[in-house]
């Protein structure tokens, strides 16, 4: 885990062939949009922001093309984005370049092309190896396609593969989750993001839940699933380095660590968010509006929030505590000239006394048993 990674560059592809029932991300079916116009708008925003006074001085070290489903674009189109980014921003090498894709849209030929363009990390939205569950999530791939996608990626030479997995799915049994984890370990990806299903507002799942028709596993079972993942993945040699993220040593995702360290990042594309120079800026959500704004010569921004020192300090603490290693007290002092022990006073001491926080190796962190109830602690520190 590199200490202060450089800034991150995020490029959002807001299109998915079909929208999953749990998804609250900014994504749309491509049919209703001019996807090539959107690609042009992305190019334009890349060029425009690379010369933006707030951005110019930043040194970047990661690129992440996420979505949505970036692989709705051809490898050549994605490679084009990567090379424009590399040519127009300052980077410190080696650059971690991730592309997200869904199992149904991963083809060997395009993977070669991506590799050649410098993409060195592939993130595959597997979610589960149980076909019924995939169908009920509204995913358009099945378990066999997922397994093929991993094999294909390996053949194409990807040596850093992430799989996204989900548990706590409607109707999911502990046994099925164990099978998914075991299948995962057989393929030995370098990185795993293991999420509990969150029912987000304004999703089909939220509607079902409101009607009492979403049959989620009992909370105790979900807690068991979380514990099971930790056990199985630890046995298979994965190190948990964030609440939901596991990696083989040296394969932690630098792009995401930068988020958890509340570092600087630039988000390109519809709905993407930037955090630069203590301002958090969000781009226009709707891809068509976004295109229009960019083509009219605007930045494409729709909102901004200034982060005062203390707010940003608290935010940095709560984000940093998501990581197992926690957050270094020295870096907090350096960045904010604040010490959480003094800043939070009695609250902090109480959390320490109740073993809900610990200070170890100069880092402030959540003890292992507090990870599962992290919000209880973070809500005291926010």
């Amino acid at each position: 885990m590199g200490n202060t990674p450089g800034a991150g560059l995020y490029i959002h592809i807001p299109f998915c062939v079909s929208k999953c029932a749990y998804c609250a991300f900014n994504s749309f079916a491509p049919a209703g949009f001019d996807t090539s116009a959107y690609l042009q708008a992305l190019h334009a925003q890349l060029l425009r922001l690379s010369r933006h006074p707030l951005v110019e001085k930043n040194i970047f070290s990661t690129i992440f093309i996420g979505g949505g489903t970036p692989t709705i674009y051809s490898a050549r189109q994605l490679a084009g984005l990567v090379s424009i980014a590399l040519d127009n921003f300052h980077f410190s090498y080696p650059v971690e370049i991730t592309v997200e894709g869904n199992p149904d849209s991963i083809k060997q030929k395009s993977l070669y092309a991506l590799r050649r363009a410098g993409v060195n990390r592939l993130s595959i939205g597997v979610q589960s190896f149980t076909d019924d569950l995939l169908a009920s999530l509204g995913r358009i791939h099945n378990a066999a396609q997922a397994e093929n996608a991993i094999k294909t990626a390996r053949k194409a030479g990807f040596a850093d593969i992430n799989l996204d997995l989900m548990f706590g799915l409607p109707g999911q049994k502990l046994k099925e989750w164990r099978q998914t984890l075991e299948t995962t370990c057989r393929y030995g990806p370098e990185h795993l993001a293991v999420y509990e299903l969150t029912v987000e507002e304004n999703t089909p799942f939220a509607d079902l839940a409101a009607k009492g028709k979403l049959k989620l596993p009992h909370e105790e079972i979900v807690a068991d699933m979380a514990e099971l993942s930790q056990r199985i993945l630890a046995d298979a040699g994965y190190i948990r380095y964030e609440i939901s993220n596991f990696a083989r040593s040296g394969y932690e995702c630098r792009h995401n660590i930068n988020y958890w360290q509340n570092g600087s990042y630039l988000g390109l594309g519809a709905g993407a968010v930037s955090s630069i120079a203590d301002i958090r800026i969000s781009n226009t959500n709707d891809p068509a509006d976004f295109n229009k704004q960019i083509m009219a010569g605007n930045d494409g921004f729709s909102g901004a929030e200034a982060l005062c020192r203390e707010k940003k300090f608290r935010e940095t603490v709560i984000m940093g505590l998501r990581m197992v290693k926690g957050i270094s007290l020295a870096s907090l002092r350096k960045r904010f000239n604040l010490d959480p022990r003094e800043y939070y006073g009695d609250t902090f001491r109480r959390l320490l006394d109740n073993n809900l926080l610990e200070i170890k190796d100069g880092g402030l962190r959540l003890p292992e048993q507090a990870m599962a109830v992290a919000n209880q602690v973070l809500a005291e520190l926010v």
């Binding site: 988020y259 955090s275 929030e305």
Partner: protein, 598 residues
Amino acid sequence: MKNIRNFSIIAHIDHGKSTLADRLIQTCGMVKDRQFKEQLLDNMDIERERGITIKSQTICLPYKAEDGKNYILNLVDTPGHVDFSYEVSRALNSCEGALLLIDASQGIEAQTLANLYLAMENDLEIIPVINKIDLPSADPETVALQIEEDLGLDSDLVQMCSAKTGEGVADILEAIVKILPPPEGDVNAPLQALIFDANYDPFRGTVISCRIINGRVKAGDRIIFMSNMAEYRVEEVGIFHLQRRPVKELQAGEVGYILAGIKTVSDTRPGDTITLKANPAAEQLPGFREIQQVVFSSIYPISTDEYENLATAMEKLKLNDAALTFQKDSSNALGFGFRCGFLGLLHLEVIQERLEREFDLPIILTVPSVCYHFYLQDGAMLEVDNPAHFPDPAGIDRTEEPFIKATILMPDRYMGTVMNLCMERRGENTNYHYPMPGRIELTCELPLAEVIYDFYDKLKSITQGYGSFDYELLDYRPSDLVKLDILVNGERVDALSQLVHRSNARARGLHACERLKEEIPRQMFKIAIQGAIGGTIISRTTISALRKDVTAKCYGGDISRKRKLLEKQKAGKKRMKTVGNVDIPQKAFLAVLKSEQT
């Protein structure tokens, strides 16, 4: 005086009293249509939201009648809830007539009767008004028949209207002028002014609403309150338009206000008589009585360092609410607070909401109690309204608790279930009769303690909303009380203690434990909740430990949103009281007495 009419509108809750008042105001041209907002007279948020009137308001309506003469119609609004029946009676006392408002689809309800009786006791002329005739379910002919046959009122007087659409409202104004008598009184007699309400104006002090029965009063006069002989100098007199409007003098027959720089609202008691120091009246107007608090509960700030703010807020509320009493109290679990007396539970909830809304003070109310009488073996009698002062059981000779007479009006099909409810609540001497075909009026003598919390809610639910309820205090009767304590993780929480009848103790203990289990959120450790009498545990529940509370995904685009969620969670925590190491939410303290549905 011939051109004045003083009247009230009396009605069962929800029969449209405030809407009709608004419509009368509008029809008399007091407000432009575009200034019109619903329920002009209900100006507290709580009143608008709950659709009830808590503080009565008065308004003076100028009206040009069909006979070509100009009239002054004083509408004295009244609170619409059983907790406030004394206030209602004082307001009625200042009128010569009343509009008895009845919902065209609901017909006559318990409060319709209770209010009608009150009005009759005060010798008021009654105009029955059938409201909501625009509703599809309206059955005005049947209701008119009920009025004639069951209430014994003259059906020729009945007015039909829809306060909502305005239909029939003009006729009501004419009826007020034609049917209601003008006030009587002797302008030259010594001043007798009846106080029926008081409000507080931060700049001018107490605003006394009063009806001048005899005599006259003007700025500069020295006045005396006859109940306590407090003396003040009148600064201003006036009448109520939408704002106060000063006048030179108020005379017999008129309704208006008096400002006299009064800072202690407790000096102005509804029902009291104001007279002039120079030429005092021989006697007080009849009907005055001290306000009687029947429900007691302690108020604590959630954060102990808010005590001073709470004290200030209580003083301010008291200025506007003569019925609220309080004194300092303290609790091991909750620190310093106030023991308060209320007219009833609605009054208690109103105070709670006002403290939170108007003063932004998160507070905890302890389990409400009535006032018990303990006769000790040494002959002394202790009045106890706070479980903390429960005497040593060994020293108690006998105990008494207050009883009420409840009047419940309902369709006869609910009689069985309602009688069961009364029996469950230790009801005695249940009687019933049929004031009208298909409807039963049930009277029952019940311990007040059994009624204060959820009786009304229960009644509403088992009668599907058709049952209505009114009560009056009767007397004290022998009882057998024990103190039920609640232990949270082994620690007794004094604020959750309650005095209960021995026969109910086990059931109440179990109920309290179960309700607390529902209200206390899971925490990071297991929580045991126990009910105990003395050293004996009589009930127990366990809240299992929280195993997960974590946000799965949080990346760059999510930070702001997730942070806001955590901030919300933090605000929720602030509304909880930490007892020992357990966070107990505010509403848990009241929930102990409530039934599940509410």
